[in-house]
Symmetry: C2
Amino acid sequence: MSIRIGILGYGNLGRGVECAIRQNPDMELKAVFTRRDPKSVHILTEGVPVYSVEEAEKRKDEIDVLILCGGSATDLPVQTPEYAQWFNVVDSFDTHAKIPEHFASVDAAAKKSGKVAVISVGWDPGMFSIARLYATACLPEGENYTFWGKGVSQGHSDAVRRIEGVKDARQYTIPVESALEAVRSGSNPVLSTREKHTRECFVVAEEGADRERIEREIKTMPNYFSDYDTTVHFVTEEELKRDHSRLPHGGFVLRSGRTGWEKENGHIIEYSLKLDSNPEFTSSIIVAYARAAYRMNQEGQAGCRTAFDVAPGYLSMESAEELRRKYL
Amino acid sequence: MSIRIGILGYGNLGRGVECAIRQNPDMELKAVFTRRDPKSVHILTEGVPVYSVEEAEKRKDEIDVLILCGGSATDLPVQTPEYAQWFNVVDSFDTHAKIPEHFASVDAAAKKSGKVAVISVGWDPGMFSIARLYATACLPEGENYTFWGKGVSQGHSDAVRRIEGVKDARQYTIPVESALEAVRSGSNPVLSTREKHTRECFVVAEEGADRERIEREIKTMPNYFSDYDTTVHFVTEEELKRDHSRLPHGGFVLRSGRTGWEKENGHIIEYSLKLDSNPEFTSSIIVAYARAAYRMNQEGQAGCRTAFDVAPGYLSMESAEELRRKYL
């Protein structure tokens, strides 16, 4: 019998989950829930109903895992504990500073309902977190480094779009190659924010807008840009659409550490991603954790989990014997 | 209270475990067991006793986890099930084809004794296995590639040393850069053995030995060399000692896969290691899994486990809260 999946929220991430389900033959999309008018939401999978979110609770016995595809700012802090009352759930909550709080509220709800809730999965938090944890456990004395990009940061693109006179914009975060090389050399460099990443913006200005002011406002924007070397390119709407409409991303997690009685030996562990589509890769990971949530719940587990609490084998559709034979 | 560790077998790996314990403040080396005369074995840690292996059973209440540092060919198939009768154990069994058999015999012993036995940990099998499993679960449609090196292969070095007229030898396995680049490009190439790795041998010949014959015997040796492009260098004993006495290793695990409704997006996941000391890095991983074995057994678990069955959080000396705060 397939694992029956529900999707709550049908944006980039929800659509990615829908695509990923098609690549996992032990899973089946049962329903999509939306806050919009269900009649206005057209999904890719034939024969699968779109319901209003209000329907979700009623459908709890038809769905094994509900995947929450909302945003971390306002949706998930409310949705994840709410739906954990009725469903095994998975989310990609990524506001690092608020994870303890989110974990606590989701854990309370899931323990009460006897469900499993896996939070903060994707690639960062998620695969990058796991890479940091394994590397740190395997080399207790050393330094961790995370670099992001080259890729589109949606938060930074949004920030540029909010500037007066900006019609549209896309921002790329780019790791500094020489900084990466310094880490790979084992020298354990201390790197400032500016030394690790640069930022590049492609901006469509409104007609008649003051481009110099826009560029200055971008480059001096606190938190987002002021600590980085930023390049701004003004482009036409057509150019933006043609050259910058995809959502690639990626990055690098490195640990440089030492072993030996006198710490005489150095080691570098590197994990990296190069992604054509950030939301689709994130979705694909979320779907693997939905399988894990289902299985852990089948075993009688309940409560909130992160990627740190889930044994790798739970993520795979193959049996333990097959995994040992094929991947060990 | 510290986790009390015993080491069985004091070669390169045993010494590496001893060094790693010093880097893990929640652990304590309690004893080393050897098949040699204990008086002939001098360890690095002051005040820790060296016993004959016959003593081990008697000391079972003094040790939380016994780390088995023997070889996969003849030692571990016997030792791991034997010592799992009395101890939580960890081994680095790496004969891929015999893992199912080894798993079964260790599992039976550990279930009977109520202990946890973690087998086949290190970096391959071990960290590379995990990298393959996570990557495959996150990108169900794609190809896995593993490259080893640049590094010293002890099995291949031994094979060269067995040739008549060879006094000493060191063999390096080297990944072919263009093959790695082809994989990174996302083209999912089909690569032959010869296209993936080259081999380089540094050989000290006996005085008067026929070097041409030695070179030919190396290059045509079935399984070990005949499927590879091999380079042979004759060097002096001093040169071998000076330039080739360390045991570096490393390698790359890559997965190239596609997502999207029409599989329109490609992704590359890459995990790589660059190690100054193969045995010390392996030991360092084994020690992290010793912690996991202890904790799982404290929770009441029993039986055989591989890296696939161990949630990442068990490997770390930090609390779940700290892990979420620092690495998620």
